[in-house]
């Protein structure tokens, strides 16, 4: 516009197909690209065709959640599993210290989780709108109610514990209230540590819904591993029960990782390559095989060496659980960018595309 002369020259000149391609390449190189646009092979401009879809542009929208959501998956999972440990440890009455610390961890998680979740909302002040309806067909709605129930009951358990500790009223005042609340908190905890798998599994994101049957186990095992790890790091590294639970969680995580590695489906590519692949794989290794070996090496007899091994295993579990959640969200993001996958999966041609890639 500043130079009308060059504009007229351009208009006068015969715009051949070569010139059109030149303009197109210039646009490609100078354009502020649409984020997430898939690059095409051989540097040719992407085309709109049946194989790659519309200029290989993503059909789906990536998850818009920020870091708070995977962080919430971690804190909610650890708190939920911890509430289960607290309730059962109290029933077994063998280790009151562990029962108390597990309850503290659950309550801490019950406090942090809603804050994380609402800080990710576009309108945090409207957090309570989640509780104006209950929709069983929406895992987010079910989860909001589970979280609300968990937060309220875990806090109540801690308050009741404090009161009975201070007032020394004996057990008559809270004889029914305390155990009932604790059982309720543990049930909500079971939901909280596993529902997040359904939350991301029942979506339109290929890598998530292809794993909808695996994710609740995977996240549940990860939740248990991180709760055990955090309690061990808090000083309970010689508890036999926690040791057994740690081995169980690590076994489940190893199986989950092996299952993903065996499958070769193009929809699972985000779990095996790129940043998301690194994150999920590293997360799985740190929460599966690594703690499993360390815990088996530690054995069942408590010694300085075995305590150290268990503390390393615990730290590895916790780090693995964080990376696993971050990795799965990143994988969802990567998955939505592959338009060919969402188109072919929806077309029921996933078997064919699998064979081409695998």
């Amino acid at each position: 516009m500043n130079n009308p002369q060059s504009d007229t020259q351009l208009l006068r000149g015969r715009i051949s197909e070569e010139r059109l391609m030149e303009i197109r390449r210039e646009a490609e190189s100078r354009a502020q690209h649409f984020p997430g646009a898939a690059s095409t092979s051989a540097g040719l401009p992407a085309r709109a065709d049946a194989e790659s879809g519309y200029y290989a542009l993503p059909l789906l929208k990536p998850p818009r959640w920020k870091w708070q959501v995977p962080a919430y998956f971690f804190t909610g999972g650890a708190a939920g599993a911890s509430a289960v440990i607290a309730a059962i440890a109290r029933v077994s009455a063998k280790d009151p210290g562990l029962a108390r610390d597990a309850q503290r961890l659950a309550t801490a998680g019950a406090f942090v989780s809603p804050i994380l979740l609402s800080s990710d909302l576009g309108r945090p002040a409207r957090f309570l709108n989640m509780l104006r309806v209950f929709k069983p067909q929406s895992p987010m709605s079910v989860g909001a109610w589970i979280l609300a129930g968990f937060s309220a009951s875990s806090t109540a358990v801690s308050v009741l514990d404090l009161r009975s500790h201070h007032s020394r009223l004996g057990s008559d005042g809270h004889s029914i209230l305390q155990p009932t609340t604790q059982v309720f908190a543990a049930l909500m905890g079971l939901g909280l540590s596993t529902y997040t798998g359904v939350l991301i599994g029942a979506t339109a994101v290929p890598v998530w819904y292809e794993n909808v049957g695996l994710l609740p186990y995977h996240f549940g095992a990860s939740a248990l591993g991180s709760a055990v790890g955090l309690l061990e790091l808090a000083g309970h590294h010689s508890s036999d029960a926690l040791g057994l639970l740690g081995i169980g969680a690590a076994c489940a995580e190893t199986v989950a990782e092996a299952r993903t590695e065996i499958k070769s489906d193009r929809a699972l590519k985000p779990l095996k390559s790129g940043k998301s692949g690194w994150l999920t794989r590293l997360g799985s290794i740190l929460s599966g095989p690594v703690p499993l070996v360390l815990r088996l090496l530690a054995g069942r007899r408590s010694s300085a060496r075995s305590d150290n091994l268990r503390r390393i295993a615990a730290a590895s579990c916790v780090a693995g659980a964080v990376l696993t959640r971050a990795g799965w969200i990143a994988a969802g993001s990567a998955s939505t960018k592959d338009a060919a996958v969402s188109l072919t999966l929806a077309n029921g041609r996933s078997k064919q595309s699998t064979q081409i890639v695998a």
């Binding site: 646009a27 690209h33 709109a48 049946a50 879809g53 519309y54 200029y55 542009l57 059909l59 789906l60 929208k61 998850p63 818009r64 959640w65 289960v84 440990i85 059962i88 077994s92 990710d120 909302l121 576009g122 309108r123 989640m130 104006r132 309806v133 929709k135 987010m140 709605s141 909001a144 079971l190 939901g191 540590s193 596993t194 798998g197 359904v198 939350l199 991301i200 029942a202 979506t203 339109a204 998530w208 819904y209 909808v212 049957g213 994710l215 609740p216 186990y217 996240f219 549940g220 939740a223 248990l224 036999d240 926690l242 639970l245 169980g248 969802g332 939505t336 188109l343 929806a346 077309n347």
Partner: protein
């Protein structure tokens, strides 16, 4: 109230983007900034929080000789995309606040005064339509001009369309009109025109149907979109079993081994 719908006929679309502009003007949607996509003349790129109508520019290889084209030049097809207003809508099912509702006209509408911006609808849409506006915080998509329909007006995009490529009306009569149009096109020698109306899929049909030439995948229209609720049964079964394992495992670890 009758179920209203859009029939978007790409064989009539001239790519003028009047629908995009009319939509932005009527609904007062913020601009998207200036951006070159490098994808034909389509710098809008995709539907989103601030784009509720989007004209797609598909470049085909022309039939040599037809209209004096050489095989080296491109033949354009345009198609104006919009929210599909699914019969089984993923976003509506997923919304935890009840902000997303079905209107008396059969459309899917996000109530802006209820939405809290949880962004779960974004990953629940099998067509990648709804998105969160990060400046505003809430999720937005085509309202099907709910306000205009209330006033017995057609949606702004259909009103602005100069070629009747976007038709608005009662769903069943538009389906009949679409089949009539396909017959007409076939009689004129256009063999590759299809009606995109995924009634066999789990979304059980849409209230935005499209006439496109060739494979709908070229326009990023999945031929069998799934509403995410189809995955719920597997997910919750797995969650129940996982929770059972977690509980049993913990109970065994604490109450089992008496050492």
């Amino acid at each position: 109230m009758s179920t209203t719908a859009f029939l978007t006929d790409s064989t009539l679309c001239i790519g003028c983007k009047a629908c995009e502009v009319a939509c932005k003007e009527w609904n007062q949607i913020p601009d998207d900034g200036l951006m070159w996509s490098g994808k034909s003349y389509d710098n809008t790129v995709a539907l989103g929080a601030s784009t509720w109508r989007h004209v797609k520019f598909v470049e085909n290889t022309p039939i040599p000789g037809l209209g004096g084209n050489s095989p080296q030049s491109a033949a354009w097809s345009f198609s104006s995309d919009v929210c599909k207003h699914c019969e089984e809508a993923g976003c509506l099912e997923a919304c935890p606040t009840g902000a997303i509702v079905r209107t008396e006209f059969g459309g899917v509408f996000i109530q802006p005064d209820v939405c809290n911006g949880c962004a779960y609808c974004v990953v629940a849409c099998p067509f990648g339509v709804v998105d969160r506006n990060e400046r505003d915080g809430r999720a937005f998509k085509c309202t099907f001009c709910y306000d205009r329909q209330h006033a017995a007006l057609e949606p702004a995009c259909a009103k602005a369309c100069p070629t009747k490529s976007i038709q608005f009306g009662e769903l069943e009569s538009l389906r009949r009109a679409a089949h009539q149009r396909l017959n007409e096109l076939e009689a004129r020698g256009v063999q590759d025109a299809h009606l995109y109306d995924p009634r066999e899929s789990s979304v059980k049909g849409t209230h935005s149907i499209f006439i496109v030439r060739g494979d709908p995948a070229v326009y990023n229209l999945p031929s069998a979109p799934d509403v995410p609720t189809v995955h719920l049964r597997r997910g919750w079964t797995a969650a129940a079993v996982a929770a059972g394992m977690l509980l049993t495992g913990t109970a065994l670890a604490f109450l089992g081994g008496q050492r």
